[in-house]
């Protein structure tokens, strides 16, 4: 069915890519025809974004071939792929907010006459394209003043002006309202009919099935199947996305105790949480699952005191409640956070392993603010042994370590001096399998000592395998709560997609 033929616009064959030993793509295949909307699906971390980045020219594959428009291609840069007619529209619009609509549409493609911008002709062209997209807006408005849906259309207009052959949309509807989504779909169908190939990436399965012609599912960096959308149900897709057999996943016995360490009630925040509530007991692992934008990270940051809360209650026995919460007080009260973005939010790349690991609990090795070096070194080295850190020396820069070892340093930061509550936001992202299992082992060691763990994760097996209970977030609210014995992966995914029965 999908062998290469004259109508194929894009053929990706056995693409592989690894980052620092983490295999992101292990043999991805994808065939997109001219005049086709092709959905690209998969769980978080299945390799979708790496595949898109490869097409955008932002990532070079390790092996495999890409045939585009009848010729074998290799993209060295973004410009390379754009020149061949590939436009990628990322989740967060890439418009310059201060520039006007007209300026944004022609950005990087300005027609110049000795540096003088030939405004008029371009405005005409822009006007035409926008009209084709059913958009009647003032070209002089700034991008910042547009609604999310309008911004998306402006980006599409820009792609059309550059004579795009393949349009890639990454989660285009994540921030759109229903009407806007419908309008976007209408536009996409028209573009398809004009012969443009479209790759559509989205977590919203119903939506995907209704708009696309075919779909391809990735799992663990491999293509596991291509289907005709009209003949496929959401259940089929979810089955394909999970596919694995759940038995090999880490299992543990519960260490949960009576004492409540964290009580959250009706938590509503400006960052998007809406009435979240739960209890977390000492020694318990509470898994929080949700798709991108469901409020996982927002919950982690609110509980830690990193972001202000709107209303509701966050209660821990040792830390203040309400507006007095902040990371400094949280850390003092025995609460630790392993943030989602390790390199930008957890690491001091210029500093040593010792400095990085000892930054969370300085009172363990200082007296009157003076560092007792021997004590500090002793603590860090002992912890390095406990987390099985692989490094040349404790004075080495953290930047030189692999992702897994960096994460062990960050985890060790909060294991120094026993945390009462650890908030782990996607702790195994970008971490190789070996380190992953060691992190799981450390988590269960911690709960055995009575530490409560709030485990926010984008990986279903991780959540199910480790947690005593699981809550599922959807659009900032708790969509479902399960004890991990009575939930299947399908049920969890359905709840996360807003389809709770």
């Amino acid at each position: 069915m999908d062998t290469a033929s004259g109508t194929d616009l894009l053929v990706i064959d056995e693409l592989t890519k690894s980052y620092d030993g983490v295999q992101a793509l292990r043999g991805a295949n994808l065939v997109v025809g001219r005049g086709e909307i092709h959905a690209l699906l998969g769980e978080n971390g299945a390799g979708k974004s790496t595949l898109i980045k490869t097409l955008a020219g932002a990532v070079r594959p390790d092996s495999g071939t890409i045939t585009f428009d009848g010729a074998a291609v290799e993209f060295g840069s973004r410009a390379d792929s754009m020149n061949r007619g590939i436009s990628v529209i990322f989740q967060h619009a890439n418009l310059v907010p201060q520039l006007t609509v007209a300026e944004n549409v022609v950005l990087g493609n300005e027609q110049r006459l000795f540096g003088y911008l030939r405004d008029g002709r371009q405005r005409e062209a822009t006007h035409e394209v926008l009209a084709r997209l059913g958009m009647r807006i003032d070209l002089n408005r700034t991008a910042a003043s547009l609604r999310a849906g309008e911004r998306q259309l402006v980006e599409i207009a820009r792609a059309l002006l550059q004579e795009t052959k393949l349009l890639i949309l990454d989660e285009p509807t994540a921030s759109l309202g229903t009407e806007e989504v419908e309008h976007l779909h209408q536009v996409l169908l028209e573009l398809r009919d004009s012969g443009i190939g479209i790759i559509y990436v989205s977590h919203r399965l119903e939506e995907v099935l209704s708009v696309s012609d075919r779909l391809t599912v990735l799992r663990d960096g491999r293509t596991v199947g291509t289907r005709i959308a009209a003949e496929t149900s959401t259940a089929d897709v979810i089955q394909l996305m999970i596919g694995r057999d759940a038995s090999h996943v880490f299992r543990k016995t519960s260490d949960a105790r009576e004492e409540v360490v964290l009580r959250v009630r009706d938590l509503t925040t400006p960052t998007g949480l809406q009435g979240v509530g739960f209890d977390l007991h000492a020694g318990e692992i509470l898994g929080v699952y949700g798709l991108l934008g469901s409020g996982r990270t927002e919950l982690a940051r609110a509980v830690y005191g990193a972001d202000p809360i709107g209303s509701g209650l966050i209660e821990t026995p040792t830390a203040p409640t309400g507006r007095k919460r902040n990371p400094y007080r949280a850390a003092r009260a025995g609460i630790g956070l392993v943030p989602e973005e390790r390199t930008t939010q957890a690491m001091f790349p210029l500093l040593s392993i010792t400095d990085n690991m000892s930054s969370g609990r300085p009172w363990l090795y200082t007296r009157w603010g003076v560092i007792r070096n021997r004590r500090r070194r002793h603590l860090v080295e002992e912890m390095a042994r406990r987390v099985r850190l692989k490094a040349a020396s404790a004075g080495q820069s953290i930047a030189a370590l692999s992702g897994g070892n960096q994460q062990k340093v960050v985890l060790g930061r909060w294991m120094l001096g026993n945390s009462r509550l650890l908030i782990l936001d996607d702790p195994t992202v970008g971490v190789d399998i070996g380190a992953k299992e060691e992190i799981y082992r450390l988590i269960s060691e911690l709960t055995a000592d009575g530490t409560a763990v709030l485990l926010l994760s984008s990986e279903v097996p991780e959540v199910l395998g480790l947690s005593d209970r699981v809550i599922v977030l959807f659009h900032g609210a708790v969509a479902a709560t399960y004890t991990s014995d009575d939930v299947s992966e399908q049920a969890l995914l359905r709840a996360a997609h807003g389809e709770a029965a």
Binding site: Y328, A346, M347, L350, S358, S359, G395
Partner: protein, 358 residues
């Protein structure tokens, strides 16, 4: 060696690079390379001057150079951590004037004892530092804009209080602080040395020192690991104001009055020395010892040019040229070094992967 676990690949001879040893780690730091290079420049400059001029190596001239650099040095010891924490302090030059005028007014008009008057001068510097801290940390105004603003405000205040000209009616003893010696060493040099030693201790051995580098290196990570970044920055700005205040009373004591126009351009001398010494303008990197060497280079250079009879106008040009040259060479050096290290690391990693697949 350190008790850390070693992988099989770690003991492959090819992996035994300099990264593992203590000295290797020290030299792998960009600040250390800059320090070594700057020490080289300082020594070369001194050796050249000792041949080119007859007076350079006289003890009187050396004392003279140290005396001249001590004012800038005192301030640089505190501006360095401010910049390492990701900030900037342009107000130090005006604080010189505010501190001097305050001290002189307390002696001349209020007839306070000298010691107390000097203390008030230094504290006036601390007050401006606190104002900087309030505006930058509390009101979240950009540090460049804030301290540029307080630089003008301070200069204006000093002139208003002094009436536009040096304070009159100051006793001769006002001059004693800066001109007396401890043994063979002038008081400003002693104070510079003490402040330098204390600040190097703070930088290396106290939690404030760690918080400083961490806040400048990655502010969000610092906040999320429970570091009180606001308290750290407030402390540093107040201390920077105080240090500039101390430099101000010393400098004005030397000219035996409170001069509202003293310290004009001082902030740039300080920043030149700090940046020359290897502190990153973007924060997160820099050492006080580096800044001290930077101060000495600037001091020796100016002294040498004076001894060679080069006019002040040319001195400006040379000073600007040296700054750009030193920082430029450093960038090139750092990049090529960085690339070599990166390449080595990459090769090691692929080697390890090859081993791992056996």
């Amino acid at each position: 060696m350190t008790g850390l676990e070693r992988t099989a690949a770690d003991v492959v001879p090819a992996r035994r690079s300099s990264i593992g040893s203590g000295l290797g780690i020290w030299f792998a730091r960009p600040t250390s390379k800059t320090l070594v290079m700057n020490l080289g420049i300082l020594i070369a400059l001194s050796v050249w001057l000792s041949f080119a001029t007859s007076q350079f190596t006289t003890s009187q001239n050396i004392t003279n150079v140290l005396g001249q650099v001590s004012f800038i040095g005192i301030s640089a010891c505190l501006v360095t951590p401010v910049m390492v924490a990701g900030g900037l302090d342009l107000s130090v030059g005006s604080i010189i004037a505010v501190a001097g005028v305050t001290a002189a007014k307390f002696v001349a008009d209020a007839h306070w004892p000298l010691g107390w008057a000097f203390l008030m001068g230094a504290l006036a510097g601390g007050v401006i530092g606190a104002l900087n801290a309030f505006l930058i940390v509390g009101m979240k105004i950009n540090p460049v804009i804030t301290t540029l603003g307080t630089m003008y405000i301070g200069r204006g205040l000093a002139n208003v209080v002094a009436g536009g000209s040096p304070v009159t009616g100051v006793p001769f003893s006002f001059n004693d602080l800066a001109t007396s010696d401890v043994g063979p060493i002038p008081v400003p040099v002693v104070i510079f040395a003490v402040i330098a030693l204390v600040m190097i201790f703070v930088e290396r051995k106290t939690i404030l020192g760690r918080w400083t580098v961490a806040s400048g290196g990655n502010q969000e990570a610092a906040r999320l690991s429970g570091i009180p970044i606001n308290r750290t920055r407030v402390t540093l700005y107040i201390l920077s104001g105080l240090a500039a205040g101390v430099a101000g009373i010393l400098l004005n004591s030397r000219i035996a009055t409170g001069d509202p126009n003293s310290g004009t351009g001082f902030e740039f001398d300080v920043i030149v020395a700090v940046v020359l010494g290897g502190t990153a303008i973007t924060g997160g990197q820099g050492k006080i010892i580096g800044s001290i060497v930077g101060v000495l280079i600037v001091g020796v250079l100016n002294n040498g040019l004076n001894l060679l009879g080069v006019s002040t106008f040319y001195q400006y040009i040379v000073q600007g040229g040296v700054l750009i040259f030193a920082v430029g060479v450093d960038e090139v050096f750092r990049h090529t070094w960085g690339n070599i290290l990166r390449r080595q690391r990459f090769e090691r990693r692929s080697q390890r992967q090859a081993h791992g697949s056996n």
